[in-house]
């Protein structure tokens, strides 16, 4: 398969990636020339640039109805990858908005640069059609994130966070790479779809294939923070700069799910019976452990970390169902979860930077100090808990529906029981916010305009998806059918 000539179509497919690179260079340029107060604009430029890229991608890079392999099979252009890419770009944009004005990181060009590099990696991850491309994309995503997690060099927790993330990441990545090499060894090809064809021809030992799959799951499980590869998440989220914690828990996780789904459905459809049982156990453990450990948390970022582990479990239910509704609900869930979790981290960021603490106890009096911020937190947490009219309800509903449709009523029951535990600890936080008093109630709580903008967009999105879910469900369905 030769590259041949590069035509306009091929450029169109990677237009967002090209623009991301251009934007990164622009940021570098402004980093050099902007001085003093003006440096706050770097974040705005990043966010604006990302908004522009989303627009350009929506106009020029829209995939056709039928999936196509491009760039010599390195990338696969389909609605699945495209939808997730837009989602990732959106998450990056919100993260940039939230970072404007933030002490230490907000005016640093390299901070935004690294974020864009990571986004570039993710957008390749979700549409990679070849294991080499896939591995490169995963590393391009991870390395900048290691640095970002440890970006606050004067803060010991941040350094620890970066280092821990690096160690876990490098370890799981090595195991995954070993899996990739085995896959290549068995199939004699690097393209996911050629491997899939070999697997379907039969003749390959299914035990060996399943072992390979397990090795790959180590890497993917790390990305989505599924139990038992979740240990890094609470420490890393706690130490990392809050916008990066939000970014990790949403964009990075979504990209991980995209890869997981693509590999499972494209390469291992014949082993469905085996991996679906295996992943249903993983989902049960992930939900249950995530939720139970969240109960004991005193720090809101750690609580959100465990809650994000639990949410990975809910999303896995959709994968396990192995039906169209299941895959649709995975994407649907990712969209809603991304908005919701970013909103939650956004509030934590806006409040934490003023009070200088992320302890849940420090949230006492928030509803008197800033009713609006408290209400935004209420929207985010209730959406995470799966309450209507917020997005979290309908996506949980569709995930559980998929499980029931697949005849796995027990898994749906595990899911609903878990959402009860979830409701408990989200309400506990809201209780502190609304009920408890604090001495600082009269003090002002300045929130920068950029954060209001980001939170406004997110909460409106959460409510719109929660009430008028048909269009987003339609897009998710479109994306889901193109994965095969």
């Amino acid at each position: 398969m030769s590259l041949g000539t590069i035509d306009l179509f091929m450029i169109q497919v990677i237009l967002p990636e090209i623009l991301l690179l251009v934007l990164a260079l622009i940021i570098l340029f402004f980093d050099l020339i902007l001085k003093g107060e003006q440096r706050q604009n770097i974040g705005w430029i990043t966010a604006g640039g990302l908004a522009f890229i989303i627009g350009a991608a929506l106009i020029f890079s829209r995939p056709a109805a039928e999936p196509v392999l491009v760039w010599g099979g390195m990338l696969r252009q389909d609605w699945f990858g495209f939808t997730l890419m837009i989602l990732l770009l959106f998450a990056a944009m919100i993260t940039a908005l939230l970072s404007v004005n933030l002490p230490v990181v907000g005016d640093r060009g390299e901070y935004y640069l690294l974020m864009l590099a990571s986004t570039l990696g993710m957008s390749l991850m979700v549409s990679a059609g070849d294991i080499i491309m896939l591995y490169l994309a995963i590393e391009t995503t991870s390395i900048p994130l290691y640095i970002l997690a440890g970006f606050l060099t004067r803060d010991e927790k941040s350094t620890e966070s970066g280092f821990k993330y690096l160690l876990f990441g490098a370890m799981t990545s090595a195991v995954m790479l070993y899996g990739f090499s085995l896959l290549y060894g068995f199939a004699g090809a690097t393209s996911l779809y050629e491997i899939a064809a070999r697997v379907q021809e039969g003749g390959l030992p299914s035990v060996a294939l399943f072992t390979t799959l397990l090795l790959l799951l180590v890497g993917f499980g790390f990305k989505i923070s599924a139990v038992p590869f979740h240990f890094w998440a609470p420490d890393v989220y706690e130490g990392a700069p809050t916008p990066i914690a939000g970014f990790l828990s949403t964009a990075s996780k979504a990209a991980g799910f995209a890869v997981l789904a693509r590999v499972l459905f494209a390469v291992f459809p014949d082993l469905t019976a085996q991996w679906s049982t295996f992943i249903s156990i993983l989902a049960t453990l992930t939900m249950t452990l995530g939720n139970l450990l969240a109960l004991a948390q005193r720090n809101i970022k750690r609580l959100l970390a465990y809650s994000s582990i639990a949410h990975a479990g809910y999303i896995l239910i959709g994968l396990v169902a192995v039906n169209q509704l299941g895959m649709t609900s995975v994407i649907f869930y990712l969209i809603a979860y991304m908005l919701t979790n970013l909103a939650a981290f956004g509030v934590v960021l806006a409040y934490g930077r003023i009070v200088g603490s992320d302890e849940i106890a420090a949230y006492a009096g928030l509803s008197r100090r800033s009713p609006t911020l408290a209400f935004l937190l209420l929207i985010a947490l209730l959406s995470l808990a799966g309450m209507p009219p917020f997005a979290g309800f309908v996506v949980k509903f569709s995930v559980f529906a998929a499980a029931v449709q697949a005849g796995m009523i027990w898994l749906a029951v595990v899911g609903v029981l878990n959402s009860i535990i979830g409701l408990y600890y989200y309400l506990t936080v809201l209780k502190v916010v609304y009920l408890f008093r604090s001495e600082d109630e009269e003090k002002p709580l300045p929130v920068p305009g950029s954060a209001w903008l980001a939170l406004g967009v997110l909460s409106v999105g959460i409510i719109i998806i929660g009430v008028l879910f048909a269009p987003v469900f339609g897009i998710s369905t479109l994306a889901a059918i193109t994965i095969y």
């Binding site: 009713p371 309450m387 309908v394 529906a401 029931v404 029951v413 009920l435 048909a470 339609g474």
Partner: protein, 490 residues
């Protein structure tokens, strides 16, 4: 397209909540006026719906249907029949009187009314829904604001505990039902959540018998069924007055109504199989609830447990699956809703003045707040099932229905009437008559005009229904006919 009156009723409270949230926190009077305006508007519309429902024609009326998520067969499908039209009216009444009584709330009234109205939208939504997804959607909306309303504005001693207990009980119940609903959806093979279509799904007997207890009990938790009634007295006592009114008055009916609509109407075979057992549970509710109420010293706990007892009668009426039982249960939902709202309003007014709810310490309140005393006596007579009051119209058919189907249970259940009379008379005598204790003299004053209006509205409804039952009975009868058809002619 006709005027979408039900949607307007459903969304009036939440729109009002948003407007209220946009007002500055310090503008407390504007907040209250907006709340009252919205509540009045919703009340007028629900009165309009109630009185323009065509009883002769029967069936679902004021139907609205819009596709919501066609891919899964989810639609926004609203309509009222003889069963739920009274409940819509009840919600309007309780919302209106609840706002009047909450006028004095001074701690963040903006958030209070906003949460209360979000709750009201959830309640209206459940009562009018003809789509199973829509029912759950609004059901959950009705559950979560309760947590905040109780934990923020509730009674300091127990509010955190009671609020969490209540929320978790109700949430567990609803998600259990939800799994059952999903099982119905996929088993029917119709690809729709429309309840009118699901009624015709023809589920197998084995399926119905398997799922009925989960679906019915899941909702009946909110109806206060024994042994899952435990959240209710704690929740009622901890809640601020308007929320107790809403909770005991309307929300418990939400559970009973959903148990009827989803459990009995969609799984009639299952209902026939399980009801002999469920009626025993409701018997415990009725008698044990009344007994516990009679031994309480806390005024509000008495009313809280009396709700458990009276809601037991509603569920017992359902459990007979007979015409009289269902008819009585339908009227009892309305009658008890208004009555208990009245009770909790009275308890709140006495507590606001006396700052204690211990019955032995109270006394003589008739002298300072005569209107309140009269209102409580009216509520008490309703509660005892005196002829001439709405309680008689409701409870008499229930007992007739039970007598027809399970005579022994009727005899045992009748004990509750005696117990009820005993605790009501005790409260009337102890709290309102006798002498005003010295500690209250001088600083206990009469309630304000808004409170009086609320009490008068509630009392008039109770007496009106009692002396002129034709205003509601034929309507509920038409709703019962539809249920009996599903149950197979009976």
């Amino acid at each position: 397209m006709p005027f979408p009156i039900l949607s307007v009723i459903v969304f009036t409270p939440i729109v009002a909540a948003l407007i209220i949230l946009l007002l500055p926190p310090a503008r407390k009077t504007e907040v209250r006026v907006t709340a009252l305006a919205a509540a009045t508007f919703a009340l007028l519309l629900s009165i309009w719906v109630y009185f323009s429902y065509d009883v002769a024609a029967g069936g679902y009326q004021f139907i609205e249907k819009y596709t919501w998520l066609p891919a899964l067969g989810i639609s926004y499908h609203a309509g009222v029949d003889g069963m739920n039209a009274p409940l819509v009216l009840l919600t309007g009444v309780v919302m209106f009187t609840g706002v009047l009584i909450s006028w004095g709330i001074d701690d963040r009234p903006r958030d209070f009314f906003a949460f209360l109205f979000i709750l009201a939208t959830g309640v209206f939504g459940v009562f009018v829904s003809l789509d199973l997804f829509m029912l759950f959607f609004f059901y959950e909306i009705a559950v979560f604001p309760m947590y905040l309303l109780i934990s923020i504005w509730g009674w300091k001693e127990t509010r955190e505990y009671a609020a969490m207990k209540l929320t978790l009980y109700l949430f567990v119940g609803s998600v259990v039902s939800l799994v059952g609903a999903l099982a119905m959806y996929f088993t029917s093979g119709l690809g729709t959540f429309d309840m009118i279509q699901l009624e015709q799904a023809g589920f197998s007997t084995a399926f119905q018998r398997l799922w009925f207890p989960f679906v019915f009990m899941g909702f009946a938790v909110l109806g206060g069924i024994f042994p899952f009634h435990n959240w209710s007295p704690d929740g009622h006592v901890a809640a601020p007055t308007a929320v107790s009114m809403f909770h005991a008055g309307v929300l418990m009916k939400l559970g009973a109504f959903a148990a009827l609509r989803v459990g009995i109407m969609l799984l009639p075979e299952g209902a026939r199989f399980w009801m002999p057992w469920i009626i025993l549970l409701t018997l415990v509710n009725v008698v044990y609830g009344a007994y516990i109420a009679s031994v309480q010293n806390d005024f509000k706990y008495v009313i809280g447990f009396s709700s458990v007892s009276h809601m037991g009668l509603v569920l017992m009426g359902f459990a007979t699956l007979s015409k009289n039982g269902l008819l009585g249960a339908g009227v009892q939902m309305f009658s008890h809703g208004v009555m208990t709202a009245l009770f909790f309003a009275v308890v709140g007014m006495v507590y606001d003045q006396a700052h204690t709810r211990e019955i032995p310490r109270l006394g003589g309140f008739r002298r300072v707040m005569p209107v309140v005393a009269i209102a409580f006596i009216i509520g008490g007579l309703v509660s005892m099932g005196m002829p001439g009051f709405s309680g008689f119209i409701a409870e008499f058919p229930i007992f007739m229905g039970v007598w027809e189907t399970h005579p022994w249970i009727a005899i045992v259940a009748a004990i509750s009437i005696v117990i009820t009379a005993s605790y009501i008379i005790r409260i009337v005598g102890k709290v309102f008559f006798g002498n005003l204790p010295e500690e209250f003299q001088g600083h206990v004053t009469d309630v304000n005009i808004l409170d009086k209006i609320a009490l008068v509205v509630l009392s008039v409804i109770l007496i009106g229904l009692g002396v002129y039952p034709a205003i509601m009975v034929p309507m509920v009868e038409s709703g019962v006919e539809a249920i009996l058809r599903l149950l197979g002619g009976a």
